[in-house]
Symmetry: C2
Subunit: 333 residues, 2 copies
């Protein structure tokens, strides 16, 4: 199944894309080169990332009754933080491919990639603080809070790699930090930036946390069963890297024969062969990990939609939020 | 010659030390462990760094007629940014020893060390923005500006490693970004944070930029002729790493036989032997690199003191600023 990009995402890309490019042009030449490559603004890329988070940020400004243009600095800040984390995570995880291209650290080296990430994090703060919004400081603090959770989540993810007793609860907590926190921030930062009432910002943040969780579950499923042309990464890359992703942990802790067999397979030293990777994917499924993750994603998406229903929103804004929610959790496997 | 630590630095350490420890305790457990180790708050350290920058920040608040206590968040923020950059630079430069201990990335791995640096950068912003100072936002923006220059300077430093035609001017520009910008910020951020007039903040910033340059020149000289017990690093470590430090670049571009011989020596493949390192140090000296750097450091220190003279300051504050300036450029070789 192929998901269709909601119209709001395309519009957001047109509005935010040039603003991101302009922001990055402020960086010093060495750092800028790496940032532009990573963002797909240079280096023969088919284009930048999907810009889902900026689309959500602009939509949250509209939810507060403002023109989306007013929230562009917030949307750019969110996208810069997202890309700061991707740049650094790719180094930590040793990932060599992203968005169908070699990762920045493999092209420019670890040092320049660390620096480019650092610069994007600082730049995100600049944008929120230098704008004319009187809520810029509060927006900056909310984004910093998301950054801390992102870091905590990635820290937990790294720690999980060295453990073989990770529970599903720990794994869900990690996803809440690593993915859902920034998504929650994306869904509320535009509203915060244009001075929305706290109740609206909180309702949108809650919606964002649920779609963030649904998104992580979907991403984990794609990491096992997604086609490379969809994920931009090699097939079964998460299994190859022995990632403690949600479906894998659900399988490992399922108290089934398939789960135990998966445990021994992943514990074996040396690189996994293609046959072993196929077998691992089958074992995750047999142990119920796939079904569980799909059901959890459905639940989270359902909760997200209920949050929308309980939040006072114009009809067009509500339907755009739900279209994006459904798009990012669409099953492309 | 051994320099005596000015009393103000000790006092600052007593005031700022506990505040740094408290700030770092907010980080998530995995990240906090690395940050505490790096900061010398754990892991059998003889103590934290010299806390020169926080001392300068507190002093700048006093220059504005405020109690130093009021500028503690700014002093902590400066020290966190300094340590964020050390953590990341150690990874990029492959440095294995700092402050007489193994560097954080060698103990915890590259991933956790990147994350701890990221978290300290974000935490510095938190502190400035959440305080009660109405100038916190401006302080935060000034610190971000220093962060960008720091990143630009480290980027240039990395780029220099791959070039053999670096000029003295480029090298001085790099030092202005990598070292002097944060020192200038340290010398003015306390004043900014407590709401000092712009003229005072600018005068102090200029003083800081000069002592930053003098400090870098001194550090580069220590990197060749400093004793390991003073530097906390192996002897002649900068030459071993073939760093394009200021005295080395001055020697390489000196148009002397010694400079050319140094160039061939450093261009030769493979690790340099102890004999070659000794010879390289001698060649830097023969080519005039050492004398030039010492004279530049003296000049910069002189300009710094003139800045102090031209800035309206209480006598005790002025003499403490000059004591710190002289301490950090004292010749311990």
């Amino acid at each position: 199944m192929t998901a269709t990009m909601p119209a709001g995402v395309e519009t957001a890309r047109d509005l935010v894309g040039p603003a991101i490019a302009a922001a990055v042009r402020r960086l010093s030449p060495d750092v800028r080169e790496v940032a532009e490559y990573h963002l797909g603004l240079a280096g023969g890329s088919p284009g930048a990332g999907k810009a889902l988070r900026p689309a959500l940020t602009l939509l949250s400004a509209r939810a507060a009754g403002a023109q989306p243009e007013r929230a562009v600095p917030a949307a750019v800040a969110v996208e810069l933080v997202h890309n700061f984390s991707l740049l650094h995570d790719d180094i930590m995880d040793g990932d060599t491919e992203r968005r169908h291209r070699p990762t920045a650290w493999t092209v420019f080296g670890i040092g320049p990639a660390i620096l480019a990430g650092d610069a994007m994090l600082a730049l995100a703060q600049d944008l929120l603080l230098e704008g004319t919004s009187s809520s810029g400081v509060w927006a900056s603090r909310c984004l910093l809070a998301a950054v801390h959770r992102l870091i905590a989540g990635q820290g937990a993810d790294l720690a999980f790699e060295r453990r073989d007793d990770v529970t599903v609860t720990e794994c869900l907590d990690m996803a809440a930090d690593k993915t859902a926190a920034l998504m929650a921030c994306s869904c509320s930062l535009g509203a915060i930036y244009v001075g929305a009432p706290a109740g609206l910002a909180m309702g949108l943040g809650e919606f964002g946390a649920y779609i963030g969780l649904a998104f992580q579950l979907t991403d984990d499923l794609l990491g096992i069963w997604g086609a490379p042309e969809v994920t931009g990464k090699p097939v079964r890359s998460d299994l190859r890297a022995r990632k403690k992703s949600l479906p894998v942990v659900a399988a490992l802790t399922s108290d089934t024969d398939a789960g135990r067999e998966l445990g021994s397979l992943l514990a074996a030293p040396g690189e996994l062969t293609e046959d072993e990777l196929l077998r691992a994917a089958r074992l995750v499924e047999e142990a119920g990990g796939r079904k569980w993750a799909e059901a959890e994603a459905d639940d989270a998406l359902g909760s997200a939609i209920r949050c929308l229903d309980e939040t006072e929103l114009a009809d067009d804004v509500r339907s755009e939020f739900s279209a994006i929610a459904e798009f990012i959790t669409a099953r492309q496997w």
